[in-house]
Amino acid sequence: MNLKTRLHILKRKYRGSKWAPAFNALHTFLYLPDETTHNGTHIKVADDLKRTMNTVIMAMVPCLIFGMFNAGYQHNLAVGDIQAVAGSFFSSEFWTLDNFLIGFWKIIPLVIVSYGVGLGIEFLFAIIKKHEVEEGYLVTGMLVPLIVPVDIPLWMLAVAVAFGVVIGKEVFGGTGMNILNPALTIRAFLFFAYPTWMSGDKVWVEGAVERTNEIAAGANLDAISGETILGSLAQGKEVAFSTWDMFMGFIPGSVGETSTLLILLGGLFLIFAKIGSWRIMLSSVLGASVMGLIFNQIVDAGVITETSKFYSLMSTPFWEHLIIGGFAFGTVFMATDPVTASQTNKGKWYYGFLIGFISILIRVFNPAYPEGVMLAILLMNVFAPTIDYYVIQGNVKKRLKRLKVKTA
C-alpha cells in the first residue's frame, strides 16, 4: 500500500469529524485528490494555490542552500581557519562540506521551528474554525528562516512565528485576508522585541555570540564578529568586501538574503512561471535607484560633507544599494506577495516604486533601522488597498468621460 492510498484511507476514516481538516491537508499536500465530481461541467487548472506556493519555495531553495554554505564560511572565516574567497563564484574555499555542515546544523532547526510552530497554529485554527487548512504558511515558513540572523535563539523564533501567524494573519481571517506580509510581521516582531539579536556585529556569524559569552566567562579565545555592510556603513566604517563579494553573497547577513545573484535567478524563475510580478520587481528597483541617485547627487553637489553621519550611506553608489542588505530579497520574494501587494497593474507600479524609494530613504536617514526594506514593504502593504482604490476610481472617471463625449 503506498503513501497516497494510506492517506486516502485516513482521510475517509476521519471524514466529518473534528480532525477532518488536518487529514485533508495532509492528503492533498503533495497529491491531487482522487475524488471526481460526477455532474456538470468543471474547469480543471493545474496551478492551484498549493502548486503556486511550491513554485515559490523552489525559487527560494538555492538561496537556502547558499545560506547554509555561507553560514559555515562566515564562521570559518571569522575564526581564521580559511582564507577569504577571491573573485570566483565557484571558489573551492566556499563550497566545502565543512562549511555546509556548520550551516546545515544551524539552519535546519530554524526551518523546523518555523514550519512546526506555523503549521501547528494553522492546523489548530482550521480545526477551531472548522474550515480546511490553508496553504498560506508554506511560503511564509520558508521565508522566515531566510530573513533572520543565523544565531537567533530558536525560542525567540517560535514566539515570533506564533505572533506573526496569529496577529498578522489569523485574526484577519487567514490566508488571503491578511493586510501585512506574515513573514515580515514575524521579522518586524523580532526586530522590535529582541533588537540585540537582530542587529549589531555578533548575530550574523555562527557562534559569535557564544564565543563572546565564553570570553566573558574567562575562556582564552579571540572574539569573532562580522558586521553587515549596512551596519558598517551606518557607523561610517570601511567596508571590507568587494562589490563582487556583495553581488555573489559572500558577506554576513540574514541567512538567505546575501546572494543577489541567486535571488536574481529565483526572481527570473518566478517571472518565467508567471507567479512573481515583474512590474513590482522592476518598479521597486527603479524607485530605489531614483532615491539612491538623488542622494548621490546631493553628495556630489557638496551639500553633505564627510563630517555628516549620513555621508557614508548617502555616498554609496545607487547600484550598490541594490545589492547590499535585504533589498534584493525583499523586492523579489516579499514585495511580490500577491495577497498584500496592489492588485491592479498600474497600482503595482506605484506600489513597487514607493517600496524601493522608501527603503533607501529609511536606510540612509535612520541608521538604527538599517533594514529599511522590511519597514518599507510593511508600510506599503498598508497602503496597497488605497492605491488600488484610486487606480480603479481613475479608470472609472476616464470611462465616464469617454461616455459623455459619445453621448454629447
Partner: protein, 214 residues
Amino acid sequence: MGLLSKKDTKLITDPLADNNPITIQVLGICSALAITAQLKASIVMAVSVMAVLGIGNVVISLMRNIIPSKIRIIVQLVVVAALVIIVDQVLKAYSYELSKTLSVFVGLIITNCIIMGRFEAFALANGPWRSFLDGIGNAAGYGLILVIVGFFRELLGSGTLLGFKVLGDPIEKTGLYAIGYENNGFMLLSPMALIVVGIIIWVQRSRNKALIED
C-alpha cells in the same frame, strides 16, 4: 435586601464586562496605550480615574437641575478640571516619582472620553447615589483593562511586576534569564498595548457571542 438593589448592582457589574468602556465602547484608549508599560502606573491611573469619575458624577448629578443645558459642557469641564487638579496635586505630594512617570497623562484625564461620556449619558439624568455607582463601575471597568494590559506589558516587557523582579535578574542572569530568556522590548512600545487590548477584545467576544456586531 442588601446595600444595593439588583438594578444598582448592575450599574457596577455591567461596565466590568458586557459594557466595558474600553473593550466594548472603545473609549479612553489613548491613556490605556500610553501609561500601561508598568503595572503600578496602570493601578494609579485606574484609582485616579475612579476618584474623578465617582466624585464628578455625584457633583454633576447634584447640579443637574440647575445647569442650563446650553452651557452644560463648560460646567462639566470645570468640574473635571477641578477634580483632576486635586488628584494631580495629591500625587505630586505623596508619590512624586510616580506622578513624573504618569507625566501629562494625569492632566489628560480631563479629556478622557469616558468621563465626559458618563456625565452626559448618566449623571445628567440620574440621582447622586446611582450616578456615584455608575461612575465607580465605569472607572472600575476601565481600570480592570488597564491593570490586565499593564500586568502583561510589565511582566513580558521588563520581567517585573510592581517593580519586583519576578522572573529573575536579567543582568545577574538568575531565574529564567539563566536559561536564555530575554525581555520582549516590543511590549514596552505603545503598539503592543493596542495589540494586547485587541486580544482582550477578541477573547471577550469569542466567549460572549452576543457582543459581536455585524
